[in-house]
Symmetry: C2
Subunit: 410 residues, 2 copies
């Protein structure tokens, strides 16, 4: 991503479809001080009468497993995300540390392979690289990971004395593909995972961007024993808190021989890389949740509305610029996600660094080459557009610049 | 440490010489909101006129290398800690992540060994364990790591086709030994490290607890090319921020072939485990530094005074309880550090979990078995006392309970 950051620095005035960061207007609404006070007041009520202790909680060290675990568990239950208990949760430095710790804990042999939806989130690829874990791509279809692909990989691994230990999957408008798994495909994936003993690492980052009424159950709800639920408050709260989580109640044996929740083993590992997640950040996120009735859905509602509006605007702008033109007919294809931040565009040409540099230099528009997110060559002709950091006028102007760019390059 | 936490939970009323956490009175003085506003105001002045951007900086994602690097560099220069520049610093989730990332970056072969002052900080041992890095103990003397020991280890490693890649050392009132390196021993260690190509991982956690006027230069000042400077704001600021740092301007080759500061490579690794350090925590620490003239010494001055007073109180209480008693003559020995949080007591008996449990259950006093911090058996008869989390009356009562405990067990 260094190259992308470099291009963005060089072109501060370009319209950028690159960052998957939350919209500044939503971030700007977060009142850190108010949230912090809400959390402190709540703690004083729950744990009185030693009030002073709770006044200092956000400033001191805290347990490696986290301080807002019970609030998170209640939110997961309220939102129907999982039958969670606080002791089965570890609060992490964003979802990234959650992924890193989980991989570190569940991969115990070099013969174990991590399957990743392809294209897939760069963070899981980075964490696996840090840990020298072998990865293999599974094609990401409009309905999520291809079960044919996954089945074939499981068989192939077995024939090589290896095993597919886990599959990373983001069922809700995945980054970078925008794909969304319907109920049937969720059930089929869970069945396969249960039958084959594959752990599902379910990333819920964009779950909030489905309306609660139409959101299918999480994989964690369908197959709790096979699934580890991972998430972040970077999209629905604010990234500066660096608060994510793992829900993993699977029992594993500790060094001392006891059977403990995996979440507790993750906390032990966490104590060796970061001691604990900033209690200050946790307290602010705890306050944010309390102010939204302990519901991530409720907390994310204004976000959902804004991003869906941006996404519609982007899809409309793409239709306007490319849909009716003979020149582009059959040349450019894109998907039509109903949530999340991302649209995937397929082109007939190689989409790489130099093409991005040209788009930035000559046309003032940025995007992300899909190959950044891929373990193979299958996405080399694609690019990712993100609509999260822009306003409608910027999206429309950006689409028009994209047209100029494609006019010149196709 | 789980056992220790468990014992502390079971005995909430015991007097605990166990935690190395900062005193609640000092923590309670931190005004998060004021510090945050100070930082935001400063950023607006420095980077005007796009004010809105700076209002959001603590809420958004930020560069993996950190946002307060220039403030830290100025503080290091002001305090004479190092000739630092911001681009050579990576801001981390406490010193723990700094240690983890640095080990991950500089250990590139299984033949490389990490030497650790013994007894040594549990955090470095944990980070090495997470990374499967081979460790070897170097005796920690009153003047820091034994150079005889280190020299012998270097020779021994060489004869086994291995090398001592780095030495972890905390020259200022180390945790857990309380040892302090004078100028001569610092110079000798630096010379040996330079001659033998050993990297010094200098942990500055307790540097603030020397009066600035008598503090010898850091290893980083004496041998900048051989030393990587690591530190935390947990003791001198507040632990809940989870803000630490690495200063590492050594040039290393990136994957792309450029020569970049090691700090920049650490940031790349960091992006794979935690993306970035909470900008909220960084902003508050930035504000705290700004309010103390960008000087860690100035920021730590009230802390230094309180801990030195606690330490004097503890040493006096030990003298009173054990110094004049015939029973204990020659049985108990302890060092007399002039700073930091810790005193090291040598006893004639094995000091382990069960002895700690007895001390807690029967005598209401807690401490830490030194074997928790050791790679060999040399500290099995020792215990660590910390004075940081207590008041004078508690210290005196705790020492009296310690006497009852030793009366019964020796």
């Amino acid at each position: 991503m260094n190259f992308l950051n470099e291009v963005m620095r060089r072109h501060p005035k370009a319209i950028s479809f690159a960052p998957g960061a939350p919209h500044p207007d939503l971030i700007g609404e977060v009142d850190v001080v108010h949230c912090l006070n809400t959390y402190i007041r709540h703690q004083a009520q729950v744990h009185a009468p030693d009030e002073r202790k709770h006044l200092l909680e956000h400033l001191e060290y805290g347990p490696a497993q986290g301080i807002i675990n019970e609030l998170l568990a209640e939110a997961f239950r309220n939102d129907g995300m999982a039958q969670a208990e606080g002791r089965n949760i570890t609060v992490t430095n964003g979802a990234q540390e959650a992924l890193f710790l989980t991989l570190r804990a569940i991969f115990t042999s070099p013969n174990q392979v991590l399957a990743v939806t392809n294209p897939g989130y760069a963070g899981i690829l980075g964490a696996a690289r840090m840990l020298d874990i072998r990865t293999t791509p599974v094609a990401d279809t409009e309905n999520g990971p291809s079960l044919d692909d996954l089945g074939a990989l499981i068989g192939q691994a077995r024939s090589q004395n290896r095993s597919i230990r886990a599959l990373y999957v983001a069922p809700d408008f995945a980054n970078p593909s925008g794909n969304f798994m319907d109920l049937a495909s969720r059930k089929s994936l869970c069945r396969l995972a249960q039958d084959e003993g594959v752990i599902l690492l379910e990333d819920t980052a964009y779950g909030f961007s489905s309306p609660a009424s139409t959101r299918p159950p999480t994989l964690k709800q369908i197959a709790p024993a096979s699934t580890i639920l991972i998430g972040t408050f970077s999209k629905v709260g604010f990234p500066g808190a660096r608060v994510g989580f793992v829900l993993a109640e699977q029992r594993v044996q500790s060094v001392a021989g006891e059977f403990l929740p995996l979440a507790s083993q993750l906390a032990t590992l966490k104590s060796m890389i970061s001691i604990n997640t900033s209690p200050l950040g946790q307290a602010v996120i705890g306050g944010l949740l309390l102010e939204h009735g302990l519901s991530i859905s409720a907390l994310g509602e204004r976000h959902r509305v804004l991003y869906q509006s941006n996404l519609k605007c982007l899809l409309l702008a793409l239709d306007e610029q490319f849909g009716s033109s003979r020149k582009f007919a059959g040349m450019l294809e894109w998907n039509r996600p109903e949530g999340g931040f991302f649209v995937r565009i397929r082109t007939p040409m190689a989409v790489d660094h130099s093409l991005l540099a040209r788009s930035a230099d000559e046309f003032g528009v940025l995007w992300t080459p899909m190959r950044f997110f891929s373990l193979d060559q299958s996405c080399d002709n694609e690019l990712r557009l993100s609509c999260s950091y822009l306003d409608h006028a910027q999206i429309e102007e950006g689409a028009s610049r994209l047209r100029d760019f494609f006019e010149a390059t196709l």
